[in-house]
Every structure is written in C-alpha cells, then in structure tokens.
C-alpha cells in the first residue's frame, strides 16, 4: 500500500499542481452529477486509464484496499439486508472514483510544490505555513505518542479491563504529550519571529512550478465540463 507523495516523472508529476487539483475537483463533482450508476462507473474506468498512463498505477492498489470495506458494507446494508442494489453500485462507484483521483493527486503533487504555486498566486503566508507545517508536525507527534506509549507500558499501563479503566489509562498518555507540545509553543513562536515569518511581507516562492498555456486550457475545459453537467442536471 502506498500513500502520499511518490517521486516520479509521469504526466501528473510534470503538470502544474493546480491542473491536477482541477482534475480532482472535477471528478469529485462529476461523480455525483453524472447519471447513476453508469456515469460514476465510466468515470472510475477513465481514472484507472489515467493512473496507468501517468505511471501512478500503484495508487490503484491503495484505492482498492480503501474501497473494498465500503463495498462490503454497502452490499450488506443495501443488498443483503435491503433491496436497492442500484444504490449500492452508485454509492460504491462514486466513492471509488473520488478515492482514485484523490490518491493520484496525493501521489503526484509534492506539498512543497503546491505551496510554492499557492504563494505565487498570492495565498497568504500563514495559510501555506499551516498546511505544510502541520503535515510535518503530525508524524513527529505520532513518534512521541509511540514513545510515551512504550514508556507507560513499561510502568504497567492497564491496556485491558473495563472500558472505564481503559479510559482512565488515556490520562497518563495524553497529559505528557499535550504538556510537552504546549511547552514548545513559545520556542517555536520565537523561532518563527526570528526568521521573519511575521514580517508581513509577501513571501517569495522558492521554486514556483511552470504553468503552460495547454494546462490553462485544460483547467478551463475541466471547469466547463463541471458547469455543463450541473446545468444538464438542473434542466433534465
């Protein structure tokens, strides 16, 4: 299973991040506006073709792993215990299409590249900062959580027993994690200030991605298809 950015040279990797995001957004809308269940199914098939062409086909396996439990429960709820197999297929293929395009986007768009693209278009520094800094701080806190868990296990943390007993066991895990993080806030804030993060000046994107005419045309076309299907749904 592969999740998140994977270096590559396929067409989605070379594309401007906004183009890939536009594709993802278009799919997210089309999945729910195209007539069900045929529309979402064809959409999923088309995305599989794009994934193979863009050499990110490994994400298809991840998508399959994520979508499988949905299909199982949908079949249970709507087919075995219900009587609307159409609804199961519709919701299932809608979720599959959105999952595939989302995982492809994650695999092909480097967060740093996206942030540079955003900064170039004038997105405020603190929005870009929160996006990337959070992605970097989450794994760090996960590591600390593991360390705290190991340490408290050594001291005989109760991991079995009544629900109430186990709920109480969360306290010696949560308190050191939270107090440690809060104790760092001032140091981090000082460091950000010392490096001009609060200067109020417009940050220079370090390596903004190129945006070609063909990609701009593609994005307009994607927007057109979204508006077109919405209009068609309203009229029809």
């Amino acid at each position: 299973m592969t999740l998140g950015y994977r270096p590559g040279t396929g067409v989605l990797h070379r594309a401007h991040p906004f183009t890939v995001l536009a594709l993802a957004g278009t799919v997210a809308v089309l999945a729910f506006t195209l007539s069900a269940p045929l529309g979402p199914m064809l959409l999923t098939a088309g995305l599989v073709a794009i994934a193979v062409a863009a050499r990110v086909s490994r994400t298809l396996l991840t998508a399959l792993a994520f979508a499988a439990p949905f299909w199982v429960f949908l079949v249970l709820i709507h087919v075995v215990f219900g009587d609307s197999p159409d609804r199961a297929v519709t919701v299932g293929s809608q979720i599959s299409a959105v999952l595939v395009v989302f995982l492809m986007t994650l695999a092909a768009v480097h967060p740093g590249r996206l942030v540079d693209a955003l900064l170039e278009r004038g997105v405020p520094f603190h929005v870009a900062y929160l996006l990337v800094a959070t992605l970097q701080s989450v794994p760090e806190l996960q590591r600390r959580a593991s360390a705290i868990l190991d340490a408290q296990r050594c001291r005989g943390l109760r991991v079995r027993g009544s629900v109430w007993g186990r709920v109480r066991s969360v306290v010696p895990l949560a308190v050191p994690l939270v107090l440690g993080a809060l104790g760092e806030v001032d140091d981090r804030a000082l460091a950000l200030e010392a490096r001009g993060a609060a200067s109020g000046l417009r940050r220079t994107p370090l390596d903004p991605p190129h945006d070609r005419l063909a990609e701009r045309v593609t994005r307009w076309a994607l927007l057109g298809s979204v508006l077109g299907t919405i209009a068609w749904r309203i009229v029809a």
């Binding site: 949908l74 709820i77 929160l130 806190l141 709920v167 107090l179 109020g200």
Partner: protein, 194 residues
C-alpha cells in the same frame, strides 16, 4: 484574512498533531473512541473559538491527506461545530469541574451526532468509519430503518467520545503548570478561575 500571531502559527500544527496522535492511544487501549478532537477542544480553551475553528479546518485537511480518505473532508462541518461549541463552552467555564466537563461533553456529543448523521446517511449511504458502521449494520439487520440506524450508531459513539474528550481536556487544564497557564490567559476562564 487576519494574519495569525506567530504563537497561533506554532500552536495549531501541534494541536492537529495531538488530534491525530490521540487516535493512536485509543487504538492501543482498544477503546471504541476517536478522540480526534482533543487538540481542537484544547485550542478552544487556550485561545478561543476562532483559533479552534482554524485548528479544526487544518486538522480535517491533514487527516484527509495523511489518511488518504477524502470522505473525511465531508465531515468538516462536524469539526467546525465542535470547535465553536467548545470555544463558547470554555468561555462559560465548562471545564471548571469534571461534572461540568462531562455534561458539556455529552451535549456536544448530541450536537456532533446530529451534524454527522445527514452526512453519513446522504453522502455515504450509512457506511463510514469501522466501528460505527458495524453498529449501523447490526441495527439494520435487527430491522431498524437505515435512517435511524445511522443516527443511533453516531449517537452512541459521539456521546462517549465527546464526553471523554472534554474530561481529558479538563484534566490537562488542571495539570497545566503556572508557567504555561500564564501564557494562555483564556485557560483560567475555561477552568473557572478567572
């Protein structure tokens, strides 16, 4: 958009990290809880509702990206509801005693379940996160209409989850050393010492 202070810029990524790390603890203790709003509620008590809303948004985006499951994004209104409610509750001293925290948490559970129910039912046909879906499936198998099965499952989960979340934040607030609590004046309001 109002520029955030550098202290909030530093605090929010850490709070989101707490949101996601708490799930690890719940899993290690095999608790049927997410605890994925502990960081958001904490920011609400330390820095007010708007900082909590920012934390909720960033948290939902990070959760979605890191987990690879776009459907979490659909539950953004729930995170926002939790953030706003917690911020307002904190201002009224909801964390002053364990009883008040637990009660405020139960009310939030009701709100969260009511917010997530239409999303789970309409968008996902009742299939959402592991444990909740098992309950939903069980209820439908027992003959409960899907609509109510989804609500029942969300409610049973959210009441316990939010109650424990508020109790945890209460415990954290009373164990804040003076050196730290002095840096977050809103904390005294939340624990009723203002």
């Amino acid at each position: 958009m109002i520029p955030l202070s550098s202290r909030l810029l530093a605090l929010i990524p850490l709070a989101v990290g707490i949101n996601l790390a708490m799930g690890k603890f719940a899993a290690a203790l095999s608790l049927p809880l997410f605890l994925d709003t502990v960081g958001t509620v904490l920011v609400a008590t330390l820095a007010g509702p708007w900082a909590a809303v920012a934390t909720g948004v960033v948290s939902q985006v990070a959760f979605t990206v890191l987990d690879g499951k776009l459907m979490w994004m659909a539950f953004l209104p729930v995170q926002l509801g939790v953030a706003l409610y917690a911020g307002l509750a904190a201002r009224r001293g909801a964390f002053a005693s364990p009883w008040r925290a637990a009660t405020a948490g139960l009310v939030l559970g009701l709100i969260a379940a009511t917010l997530s129910w239409p999303i789970a039912f309409l968008l996902f046909g009742g299939v959402t996160a592991g444990g909740v879906t098992v309950v939903t499936t069980l209820l439908t198998a027992l003959g409960v209409p899907l609509k109510w099965a989804v609500y029942g499952a969300s409610l049973s989960n959210d009441l316990l989850d939010k109650c424990v979340t508020f109790l945890l934040v209460h415990v954290v607030l009373i164990s804040l050393p003076k050196r730290l609590s002095a840096r977050f004046p809103a904390a005294d309001l939340a624990r009723g010492r203002a």
